[in-house]
Amino acid sequence: MASNKEQWLTTLYRSAGERAARFSTVSDLEIEPLYTPEDARFDYDEALGVPGEYPFTRGVYPSMYRGRLWTMRQFAGYGLAEDTNARFRFLLSQGQTGLSTAFDMPTLMGYDADHERAIGEVGREGVTVTSIHDMERLYGQIRLDRITTSMTVNCSASIILAMYLVVAERQGAGWDNVSGTIQNDMLKEFIAQKEWICPPEPSVRIVTDMIDFCCRRAPRFHPVSISGYHIREAGATAVQELAFTLADGVCYVEHALRRGLEVDDFAPRLSFFFNLHNDFLEEIAKLRAARRIWARLMKERFGAKEARSMTLRTHAQTAGVALTAQQPLNNIARVAIQALAGVLGGVQSLHTNAMDETLALPTETAATIALRTQQIIAEETGLANTIDPLGGSYAIEALTDRMERDAMAYISRIDQMGGMIRAIELGYPQQEIAEAAFRYQRQVEDRIKTVVGVNKYVTPEEIPLPTLKIDPEVEERQVQRVRRMKRERNQRAVKDALKQVAEACRSGANLMEPICEAVKQEATVGEICDVYRAEFGVYKDPAWI
């Protein structure tokens, strides 16, 4: 018997005609003309449930945004620590509710500002941090026990976390009162963001040390933010972003369990970070599917007992890669739509990109508009008044199911390969992403996918936007500062402290305690990373095309 939908498709719909041969998401997932109850068959309690209850499809907290709005957390960092400190205090004065720190490339890659590899990069893509003194300036006049801070740093994260905790301690805050998130997701570095020092195995060992350490010493800190953001930016589809992120999460859980930690002790401290791209429905479905898959994995595969261990709490950021350098004001509209998807997808914190970020770091005006966009969504649109308002939509539920199915297929494939570290060594996720990125580029160039202002509705002459300039003196000043600090500190104490770090690398003892001691003795990011390089070796880009 032909269903209603089938009958409709072959008669009414067909006779009406279509404007395109194929309809698909930005990730190239084919979309049907209509979703009906036939496409979204589910047992309500099993597949959706209520907010705050397994499988958390409709939201991780019972009252969601009616209880508390998401955290508006704009990523900021440039120049010297005091420059970023000023931007932080400006953003807080404008109603931002959490901090998010961007570090410069030398800090992220574990080089001091005075290292030759740092030339030209100091304070450019983020704030420069070489020693504990920079961290003290960075969070000066901001009480670290009264704010939550997110820090985007990975291969040198252990050192930055140690510095953060020492700064908090010097402010008089106990470590058990300090909360925040450090990205520290090394697996996605090998897959996508590609800032690394050591090979995957020791990198994951350091991450596991930090999970273990935070459980014991800084229980309100999230020691890893399992990130799909960069995977998507590197060109992955929405399904790949979802699948590789959750497979990374599985890998960290397995390592923590192998370390002897109890799943319900550390799982509640794992947090996530997803991308918000242009395809509205696909993004909402992705976030809902992410919560459901993670809950099921944690409960069924890892035997978590507590609800908090099963909840996928996530930060999200609008897609940098979806911004255009052409007609940059259009980016304000894109960001607003992407942010809406995040809110309808139930994220816990959100960064909205500034319109000028394809050109440079944002100016204050551009950064303010980005923050205002969130405030408009939160306080003018009414979207925060009811929870998961799109839940039950045939299209959304069908897409959520589809995302879950396709992502689980990837996760099984990675399990069969022997887990994510092995898959990375084989280049599997990297090459899947490169393939998807190339395919999308082709579709844009063949005008199958539209990018307004780039391959359609192009305007010949454009008035350039004013962009943020980083004063070239920043580098000189930081280099001088670092050199002076290195001359004046207690060399003996630094040497001894670094020796302790090296010893822990070898013995397998937790690295965090000796690193906390080393940063107190004014050992630098680069010096501690040099210990990693010497003890664990250096990872080299396989340079696949």
């Binding site: 490339m105 030398p106 992220l108 890659m109 080089y111 590899r117 740092a118 030339i119 030209g120 990069e121 450019r124 893509e125 570095e189 996508a192 963001q193 590609k194 800032e195 930016e233 590197a234 060109g235 890669v321 255009t324 350098a325 052409q326 394809t358 050109l359 440079a360 770091l361 490169a434 990125a437 190339f438 580029q441 844009v444 160039e445 990018v451 780039v454 391959n455 350039p464 962009t467 980083i470 080299k540 880009d541 396989p542 340079a543 696949w544 095309i545």
Partner: protein, 151 residues
């Protein structure tokens, strides 16, 4: 898969080929950042367009880029920079190429580069700067027009 260690294709360069040898391009990723999406797409698109392409991989210093360009005997270097360090890295690569007797290698590039900086780069000898939104076809035809096999 292509890496920096790929052997030179001697037959194409000196062997019995009747036609002029193919243009060789080094796609280089200088700086500390890991943004290689663009570089990889360009490398692949240039290869598909018929050029010989060598990709350096990430995190190269100007010395590494210039050395690879000389060793691989390339005709052009496409430098991808998204870290904001373009005003430091481009001039350094050009200086080192000249120092190593490879000043005739055409240097072009792309990345997050404001237009006024692109202008400065052209003044110091960068032949073209492509910014976000440039199509691979546009870049491939530019290479075809502007880069010839070196003598």
């Amino acid at each position: 898969m292509t890496g920096p260690a790929r052997p030179l294709s001697e037959t194409l360069r000196h062997g019995g080929a009747m036609t002029q040898r193919r243009v060789r391009i080094l796609v280089a990723k200088a700086g500390l950042d890991g943004h290689d999406r663009g570089a990889k797409i360009i490398a692949r698109a240039l290869r598909d367009a018929g050029f010989e392409v060598i990709y350096t991989g990430l995190h190269q210093t100007p010395e590494m880029v210039a050395t690879a360009a000389v060793q691989e005997d390339v005709d052009g270097v496409g430098l991808s920079i998204l870290s904001g360090a373009h005003l430091t890295l481009f001039p350094e690569v050009i200086r080192l190429l000249r120092e190593n007797g490879a000043g005739d290698v055409v240097v072009f590039g792309g990345g997050i580069i404001p237009s006024e900086d692109a202008q400065k780069l052209k003044e110091i000898g960068v032949k073209e700067v492509f910014t976000p939104g440039a199509s691979t076809q546009e870049i491939a035809s530019w290479v075809k027009e502007n880069i010839r096999p070196r003598e």
